[in-house]
Amino acid sequence: MTTPKSRENRLGEVALRGIGKRFGGFQALDGIDLVIRPGEFFSLLGPSGSGKTTTLRIIAGLEVPDSGAVYVDGRDVTHVSPGDRDAAMVFQSYALYPHMSVRGNIAFPLRMVNTKREEIERQVQQAAERVGIGHLLDRRPGQLSGGQQQRCALARALVRSPRLFLLDEPLSNLDARLRMQTRTELKQLQRALDVTAIYVTHDQEEAMSLSDRMAIFMDGRIVQTGTPEEVFGRPATASIAGFLGSPPMNLLEAKLLPDAIEVAGQLLPLPPGLPAGQQVVTLGVRPGDIAFGATGLPATVELSELLGDSVIVDLRLGGVAVKARSYQVRRFAEGEAVHLQIDPAKLHFFSPTGQRLDPHPGAGHATDGD
């Protein structure tokens, strides 16, 4: 449990049981099981078309699953209408009501439950100030900048103190600098409100930085659930490993010999505890776990990209392309001969079918189904 303030009786638990959804001939979701704990910041991360937005829409009640059930705090809400789920949502497009002022937009969810006029005014003011748009209440959405529109959408969601806060790529329409800033504010807001947040994104950096836990979606299934550390540190499959990280993990075909690993014609020491009998494996190594030294595996520099605080180096290691990240900021010349050092403890192994093989005995399951 990563949420520090967890209590037994708090609200905002979401459970999905065996959710399936088809759109015509396309299986959008196939057996989604997921439990999101109260107060958690939970990300649904995956490439486009992987089913993460459909999952969020099913939680919101905008789609009805073909099979399975949705529970909020133990209550089956699978066929409950969106308005009766106590969930607020921020859409990717913000979906602000263009004919209403910012005040009207934020007030709308309160008006719909016949809140008293003074109470609406007070709460709207409070919500708007909380996201820093208290001075823009009389504007129309069309007169706001992208960042202000996004804040208006946030205020409209938080004004009703919902049990669930659903966010569908809310930062994707902001420019890079604003996105970073809003990201921090979003996390602070979620902590301050102590509300369950479910966040859909295809941006792994966002998911890593915001989430308490996250689920990785691929082809309509959840392939791994865990904290960002768990998912990044111990990806459950080769495809997750190849999706996470910037640049992602190098995946190389390797052969397990009795006392060494053969990769690209080179021999590496074998870490202890690998399951026996796996002759051919996929070896994974993060670019940042490759060090440059005076000795080690010989490789040639093909290209280097300076990022400021580090350098991404494209290397050729015995006929295979490998990316390394060096924190000694220097220019690498094209064609330069270098030596690579890889800590065997930082290697990842995947079976030919892509499943993680664990060299560390006694380690728990990477996939945390619950």
Binding site: A60, G61, L62, S81, P82, G83, D84, A87, A88, M89, F91, Q92, S93, Y94, A95, L96, Y97, P98, H99, F108, P109, M112, V113, R140, P141, G142, Q143, L144, S145, G146, Q149, R156, R160, N173
Partner: protein, 279 residues
């Protein structure tokens, strides 16, 4: 420079020609309505005549007053417009939004009814109405008008509804609005322009209708279009009075067009959704 100027002149000339074509009959009618019957028929036509409002007075208050006919027109038109819009708005919304299997064929069917030449329907309608005792009644004509204007209004409104992003409505549903309230508070205000346009067209078509009114309305239901015949007889056509009556008949429609113009032009949805963002 010269090329641009020539282009603008050509454009202006074209516009003037078109404008002339459209306004000439109206202007001619307006001028005629201010003449005496003698001046109308004067040959060669005279430009300088003593304008008179006598024709208007006669048309409104004389023995052949069109006031009852204006009332008939108003009843037919208002009833047709209200009934049509009451059904067209929800129907268009449903066609634009709901995932109906029959959506496409239904859309085509609605449009197909517009392809029938009305004159081909006059006789069947006459026969059916005589069986149902609907001849010479308001309800009969209103049924006919609604049956023509409803498909047209639906077809027109659907595209306006389709322009509203689905997310707008989903946001409203999540914000605890019922489907009806989502439509009432979120969707309808945004298609206000489209509703105005459809309303004007339905009103216009009903107000201008002649063929069915003259055949099915008989002596009892005579809208103002048919009433033009008050001033046309075997012996003579009272051109000045016909013109005055025509101008009076046009007035409500022109007034409505002017009033609705602002709504028709106004685009409301900009800035709400990404991509469409700020002006």
């Amino acid at each position: 420079m010269i090329g641009r100027l020539a282009g603008r002149l050509a454009g202006a000339a074209t516009l003037i020609v078109f404008l002339g074509c459209w306004t000439f009959p109206v202007v001619w009618g307006a001028v005629t309505s201010l003449k005496t019957e003698r001046d109308v028929l004067a040959y060669p036509p005279i430009a300088a005549f003593a304008p008179t409002l006598a024709n208007y007075a006669d048309v409104l208050q004389g023995s052949n007053s069109i006031l009852p006919n204006l009332k008939s027109s108003a009843i037919l038109t208002v009833a047709t417009t209200l009934i049509t819009m009451a059904f067209a708005v929800p129907a268009a919304y449903a066609l634009a939004r709901l995932r109906l299997r029959a959506r496409r064929p239904l859309g085509f069917y609605i449009l197909a009814t517009q392809m029938l030449p009305p004159i081909g329907l006059v006789i069947p309608y006459f026969l059916i109405f005589s069986q149902l005792s609907l001849l010479n009644t308001y309800s009969g004509l209103i049924v006919v008008y609604v049956s023509f204007s409803l498909p047209f209004a639906i077809w027109m409104l659907v595209s306006y509804f389709e322009e509203i992003p689905r997310e707008m409505e989903e946001a409203a549903l999540i914000d605890r609005a019922s489907r009806f309230r989502a439509m009432w508070y979120i969707i309808l205000p945004q298609v206000g322009g489209g509703i105005s346009v459809a309303l004007v067209f339905v009103f216009l078509n009903a107000w201008n209708e002649f063929l069915f009114a003259v055949v099915l309305g008989g002596r009892t239901v005579r809208p103002v279009t048919v009433a033009m015949f008050n001033f046309i007889s075997l012996e003579q056509t009272q051109w000045a009075r016909v013109s005055a009556a025509a101008l009076i008949a046009m007035a409500p429609v022109i007034l409505l067009g002017v009033l609705a113009q602002r709504h028709i032009v106004k685009g409301l949805t900009f800035g709400a959704v990404k991509g469409v963002s700020r002006q």
